[in-house]
Symmetry: C2
Subunit: 220 residues, 2 copies
DNA sequence: CATCAATCTGGACACCGTCCAGATTAGGGA
DNA sequence: TCCCTAATCTGGACGGTGTCCAGATTGATG
């Protein structure tokens, strides 16, 4: 049997080297961040010569980009896992608010729980995160089974709109504002204020999400 | 006369090498970002041997950290310059709102106008940006003449409080929420959505700041 | 004026990503 | 069934990186 992905080495040919390289890169990034993805280390883990990378990727940056996609899917999965454990109130309006709040909280929590994966996921790979608010021209095939974080955010805001808490024409603006809040919280707590305690971090997240929802749902 | 900082080389000793290295590093970062700060290139610009760096900095990362401080001051200066060109309305409440809005806009605009400097300024140097809302234990001496961006943000929120638009006990939370909004906007527009047009970028900034102020000033 | 400590130079090392030529092997047409 | 083409992987090399160590130079102090 021996699935080709798990077997370390069958013979001269690896079998599924591309996926193995991405997996090894993800594992390195998990513990050491993007700069831990080093060509010779990745290939050493997989048990292959350094230059074998270049048969599947044009450059190391392309491998990193593939790892970034992998990390984005992992992030969305973690967020879905968090959302599954939230029981929403009966009221549709309150439920929509809670949903958005928990999507945002899950976004920040992933960044703090898996800083290495979050960094590689957000590491300047162009269009790594979709272009929300735009045409959404079928962002790849597996957008259904393997969503990206921005998909969850957009869905949460759509739900807020359906609950009558947000004008439909404001959706794009609301997406940007929400994304900015959670991404700002994540990057600040991760990169600029790493010495904050867990309680302080949670307070900051609560504050950011509180004002966001207040701003989104209060009519001028 | 020949000030010691400008003279390229007097003799064996440079005179003010440390400052010259920081300046060269800042110039490299301005055009190429943090990764453009390369030891041999910095020293080549200054006209000195590569290892001369190690008499003033323990490692290249320390030089980068010094450049980051430099960039933070430059950012605050640019923000002040922007604020000077804003004429505020007579009404104190409206003026406070406009002030915060323009502080936020200046924050994002600097990131978009000087991406290299913004990146080095925010490049994970611990405590690069102060710890707002905390004891503020004399954040260095020159906090008066050479403020950092967070100082301007805190001042803007204090002004909002003095105008009666924000409860005093919410200041810390408001700082975090405001900072998250503008920092999130900046990093998203810079790193994750670089292909947006100028108009789209401005719309995103307006949206983020609009909901932020709405959230801050609307009483629950 | 001599001496010391600070400053800067020169050479070396290990590691990095990438290129080029060659070995190995899987898969499909005769 | 055999071969041969194309894909895959290996080995060695090159230029560039940050950092260490020993030695040259010099401003300042006694």
């Amino acid at each position: 049997m021996a699935t080709r992905s798990t077997r370390t080495r069958s013979s001269y040919h690896h079998g599924d080297l591309r996926a193995a390289l991405v997996g090894a890169g993800a594992e390195l990034a998990r513990t050491g961040g993007p700069e831990a993805i080093v060509l010779r280390e990745v290939t050493r883990i997989v048990g292959v010569a350094p230059n074998a990378v270049y048969t599947h990727f044009g450059t190391l940056a392309e491998l990193k980009s593939a790892v970034a996609q992998h990390a984005l899917r992992a992030m969305a999965a973690a967020m879905l896992s968090h959302l599954a454990q939230v029981d929403e109130p009966a009221d549709a309006r309150e439920a929509a608010e809670v949903h958005l709040r928990e999507v945002g909280r899950a976004y920040v929590h992933f960044a703090l729980d898996q800083p290495g994966l979050f960094r590689i996921a957000m590491d300047g790979n162009p269009d790594g995160v979709g272009t929300p608010g735009l045409g959404e021209k079928q962002s790849d095939s597996a957008s259904e089974d393997h969503p990206k974080p921005d998909t969850l955010l957009i869905a949460a805001l759509r739900r807020l709109t359906e609950a009558g808490l947000l004008p439909a024409e404001e959706t794009d603006a609301a997406v940007m504002a929400s994304w900015a809040t959670v991404h700002g919280l994540a990057t600040i707590l991760l990169n600029l204020q790493p010495s904050r305690s867990v309680a302080e971090r949670e307070a900051a997240v609560d504050a950011g999400l509180h004002y966001l929802l207040q701003g989104l749902t209060s009519r001028a």
